[in-house]
């Protein structure tokens, strides 16, 4: 499930095929340090390249456009190039901190630049909470290589031995002598190459010597976001551009335009015409683009266009059809493919003294990122330039190229700030209609989706159904566990090359719709099957939504464990602790999951203490607990979450009073933005649990704008207490994991407050009332 894992990328499944190339892996590249135009430049190049020329030659020619990682100008300014997008996580700041740490740079000298698309960066994707996890080592090493080079050059100028030197505040220091980086660059010569083996051997600072990592820095992207100066995709203007807005067809797939009547539109001043878009990749079908000289005119004209369609074949699917299909699937023994298979589950259930099972449902949930989708496209000097905020050049660039029918190198994606990503801007298919319109009318086009257009073209989190079963022996020990998960699969729709082979070899599966089921509880006989819901797949394009699979799968898993505890009458925290022994496969491994399940145990014990567990509460109140290990077993972020709720016994209304969360995510690079991510993701968790959710109606999303999709607002905000375990372990992800445990903690709290067990997301007052009536 790791992004650069070769076996995953080689694996293409049928269906829509992505032709992104395998990333040149950083580990197989040489690191070059050379001078060019009064700058010291540090870059990566493929191994073969550096054999034919010296480092500084390659760099000053930029002949092979090596990917520049950072450069130090002779003025002392250090620019870190970040191949990750900025969508609210201040990732540029965190990644620059890693470089600054090893380099010994003064933080005031640091700038960040976000890279445009260039295949030399390798596979680029900002998502999965991967950025710091993936970049920590290579950036630390790159910084260390830079330090070594500067020390060698600085020592020569100072006339001292390199061994006597250290770096601090952008200076090389030896005893009471020192020289600034900028002086070194003005005087020194640089031409140096590090092989991957040499890079691996460079010593990296021990945690107690750090001066930048783990300290708060004002995030570099914050000031322009307080004065209107930050430039987002929607702010781009190109010379000679016109505006366009889509008319989105009745079905996501297979629609065809039969005729367009624009007689009314012709009365609108500024209306320039329409285009039926011809997508050579067939990603979008039956789209009409409405063109005008202002956006307002495009909005108005699109509203009065009369288009007749032949809708795609699956035009009448509703939410209940998807749920019904899911229920059918999770009740078929052999459906889907095998993901976890420990021990002998069938035998465990056969010999069990008792068993129990429960089915959990989550409904369609949408992105509603604040900046509606948009892209601005232009053909210039033989290149298709696409301007937009996006989470992955590597997914977007080939998609646009294919739609246009041109080579990948002929498309250039320019990056901007993202007005929210949350997974919607990972596969940047919104750039396709922009590029096609520009192509068909031969002019630069700014293509903006209204909020309603954006909603219609969302890639929603699919509705899901899961069934969890447990087998108990006569001592009430959990001896068997089985979990079937089913949903529409985003990765199948958008990046099938990322789907690994199943354990039983019977096909591939979507790891982003499965992860979270491979828990760290030690249960000897344990089976997970993961199943694609094809009814969902046909109706709409399932998407990656912040926290992806674990966001809904843990709702089932962590609700169920509480249900078991209640059944056998033991404290649900005690039950969890007894299963977190950190033995066998739950021992974890170096570096990212050292100590395994024991760390989950530690956060759970900490959370128990801080959350008033077992303390006295007012009437109709309850505390519920849940744990999470983040986005994937291979990159665990250890979390325990307690929700304190009040349930109105009459109306059924649920109020979340407080969320208490303890996390261990290894080394925290930028503590304040880590906290900000957790604050935001806890509130996302509450929002998805109680306030969000829609349904599929005739193969479309019922929600279209903020009047009928209603994320949490400030007046719904609970109190929050967030504690990070002080850790020096390898840093893991933080952008999403905080979401995961919140919904099951609230469900468990509702049960503790009212005796009502809710097994459906979002949890609504009427569900509480219904259950009460039944009881």
């Amino acid at each position: 499930m790791k992004l650069l894992n070769k076996s995953l990328l080689n694996n293409t499944s049928k269906g829509i095929d992505n032709d992104f190339e395998e990333a040149p892996q950083l580990s197989r590249r040489k690191f070059l340090i050379g001078a060019a135009k009064s700058s010291l430049i540090m870059a990566f190049a493929p191994l073969a390249m550096s054999l034919t020329a010296s480092a500084s030659q390659i760099i000053s020619d930029r002949a092979f456009s090596p990917s520049v990682w950072f450069e130090i100008k002779n003025t002392g300014e250090i620019t870190v190039h970040v191949a990750r997008c900025e969508m609210g996580q201040h990732v540029g700041t965190a990644l620059a901190q890693i470089v600054a740490e090893e380099l010994g740079a003064n933080w005031d000298d640091i700038r960040v630049e976000h890279a445009s698309s260039d295949p030399k960066w390798g596979f680029v994707m900002t998502g999965g909470s991967w950025s710091v996890f993936q970049m920590y080592k290579p950036l630390s090493q790159a910084g260390a290589a830079g330090r070594l080079t500067l020390i060698d050059a600085g020592a020569k100028i100072l006339g001292v031995s390199a061994h006597s030197c250290d770096v601090k505040d952008s200076k090389v220091i030896s005893g009471n002598k020192s020289i600034t980086f900028s002086e070194i660059i003005n005087k020194g010569k640089f031409d140096r190459t590090f092989t991957p083996e040499e890079m691996a051997k460079l010593s990296i600072k021990s945690p107690d010597k750090r001066h930048t990592i783990g300290f708060d820095r004002l995030a570099l992207d914050v000031p322009p976001k307080t004065n209107g100066k930050a430039v987002y995709g929607i702010d781009v203007e190109l010379k000679g551009m016109v505006y366009a807005r889509p008319v989105i067809p009745p079905t996501r797939y297979g629609s065809k335009v039969l005729g367009v009547d624009d007689s009314k539109a012709k009365n609108i001043k500024g209306y320039l015409g329409y285009e039926i878009l011809k997508d050579q990749s067939n990603w979008i079908e039956g789209w009409v683009s409405v063109i005008a000289d202002t956006y307002q005119s495009a909005i108005k004209a699109a509203d009065v266009l009369k288009i007749s369609y032949q809708a795609g074949s699956s035009a009448n699917i509703n939410e209940q059809d998807i749920i019904d299909e899911g229920i059918k699937l999770v009740n078929q023994k052999e459906s889907g493919v095998l993901f976890v298979n420990d021990g002998d589950v069938d035998k465990a259930f056969k010999v069990a003294a008792s068993s129990m099972s429960a089915t959990y449902i989550t409904h369609t949930a949408m992105h509603f990122q604040m900046e509606p989708l948009n892209a601005t496209a232009e053909f210039k000097d033989g290149i298709w330039h696409v301007h937009c905020g996006n989470q992955s050049h590597s997914l977007t660039q080939p998609a646009v190229a294919k739609a246009l029918g041109v080579k990948v190198e002929e498309v250039m994606i320019h990056q901007y700030y993202l007005g929210g990503g949350f997974g919607r801007r990972a596969y940047g298919d919104y750039a396709i209609p922009a590029a096609l319109t520009a192509k068909q009318i031969g002019k630069p086009v700014k293509f903006i989706f209204t909020r309603v257009d954006d909603s219609k073209f969302d890639q929603a989190r699919s509705a899901s159904v899961q069934k969890v079963s447990g087998a108990l022996n006569k001592n009430n020990e959990l001896i068997g566990y089985q979990h079937y998960v089913s949903a529409g699969w985003p990765t199948l729709a958008m990046a099938p090359g990322f789907m690994p082979k199943a354990l039983d070899g019977k096909g591939n599966f979507d790891p982003f719709s499965t992860s979270g089921s491979d828990h760290w509880y030690s249960i000897a006989n344990n089976r997970v099957r993961t199943i694609n819901n094809q009814v969902a797949q046909k109706a709409f394009n399932p998407g990656w939504l912040r926290s992806v699979g674990p966001g809904w799968i843990s709702f089932g898993a962590e609700s169920f464990i509480d249900e078991v505890a209640n059944e056998i009458n033991i404290d649900p925290i005690d039950l969890r602790l007894s299963l977190l022994d950190g033995k066998g496969k739950n021992k974890g491994h170096h570096p990212q999951s050292v100590n395994g399940a024991k760390r989950l145990k530690t956060v759970l014990e900490h959370c128990r203490k801080t959350a008033n567990w077992g303390g006295k509460l007012s009437k109709n109140e309850g505390i519920g607990i849940a744990t999470s290990f983040g986005q994937e077993r291979e990159m665990p972020t250890w979390i325990a979450c307690a929700a304190h709720v009040k349930v109105d016994p009459r109306s059924g209304e649920v109020k979340v009073k407080k969320i208490t969360m303890t996390l261990d995510c290894g080394t925290v690079v930028h503590p304040d933005s880590a906290r900000a991510q957790i604050e935001g993701s806890i509130l996302w968790g509450v929002s998805l649990a109680l306030f969000e959710g829609t349904e599929i109606k005739n193969s479309n999303y019922a929600a279209t704008n903020f009047h009928n999709y209603t994320p949490l607002r400030m007046n719904d905000m609970p109190e929050m207490e967030i504690n990070f375990i002080d850790s020096k372990e390898f840093p893991v992800g933080l952008g999403e994991p905080g979401v995961i445990a919140v919904a099951p903690a609230i469900a468990n709290a509702i049960f503790n407050a009212s005796g009502v067990r809710l097994r459906e997301l979002p949890m609504k007052a009427e569900h509480v009332r219904e259950q009460k009536a039944k009881a």
Partner: protein, 163 residues
């Protein structure tokens, strides 16, 4: 022809009377700090001041701005105490909603120099922050209320950092 005062300057627009003020501000006068979020006055991303009231510019026909004083985030010239507090509390995540949040918050402080938690929530719940930076928005408003001396010069790393 509609004439109004935009951040202290008189401007004229020939756009249709019913064009939302938002698009006139952004596309005709090039002030991109005011954002488009929903178009139906539900999110607050497009909030500007008209005669010192917070107004959703996505839903205000241009004609209604005739003769009025319109202020956008750019009109604060980086001098509003809320902007300083926003940096201090590191409020923005994606940042897209933040111009609107600041414009909305400013009208609260204009009328109430020391708002309570509940007053802040009530006033600010008109604006959505999809990144849910709400705790920091709240904190920053309180911080700005403490420093309520208007017109303080603020440190802006974006100027020195070109960020």
């Amino acid at each position: 022809m509609i004439e109004f005062n935009l951040n202290g300057k008189v401007v004229r627009s020939n756009a249709f009377d019913d064009t939302p003020l938002l698009w006139v501000i952004r596309d005709e006068f090039g002030l991109k700090g005011t954002k488009f979020g929903c178009g139906i006055a539900m999110c607050g991303a497009c909030t500007v001041h008209i005669d010192n009231d917070a107004v959703r510019s996505c839903s205000l026909p241009l004609a209604m701005a005739n003769g009025k004083e319109v202020k956008t985030i750019e009109g604060f010239e980086n001098k509003h105490p809320l902007q300083k507090a926003w940096v201090k509390e590191q409020v923005p995540q994606c940042g897209y909603c933040q111009s609107g949040q600041i414009m909305q918050a400013a009208t609260l402080l204009d009328k109430n120099t020391n708002p309570s938690d509940d007053e802040i929530s009530a006033h600010m719940s008109a604006n959505i922050c999809r990144c849910m930076a709400y705790p920091r928005i709240k904190k920053a408003i309180k911080e700005a209320a403490k420093q309520s001396t208007l017109g303080v010069n603020i440190f802006d790393p974006s100027i020195s950092k070109d960020a």
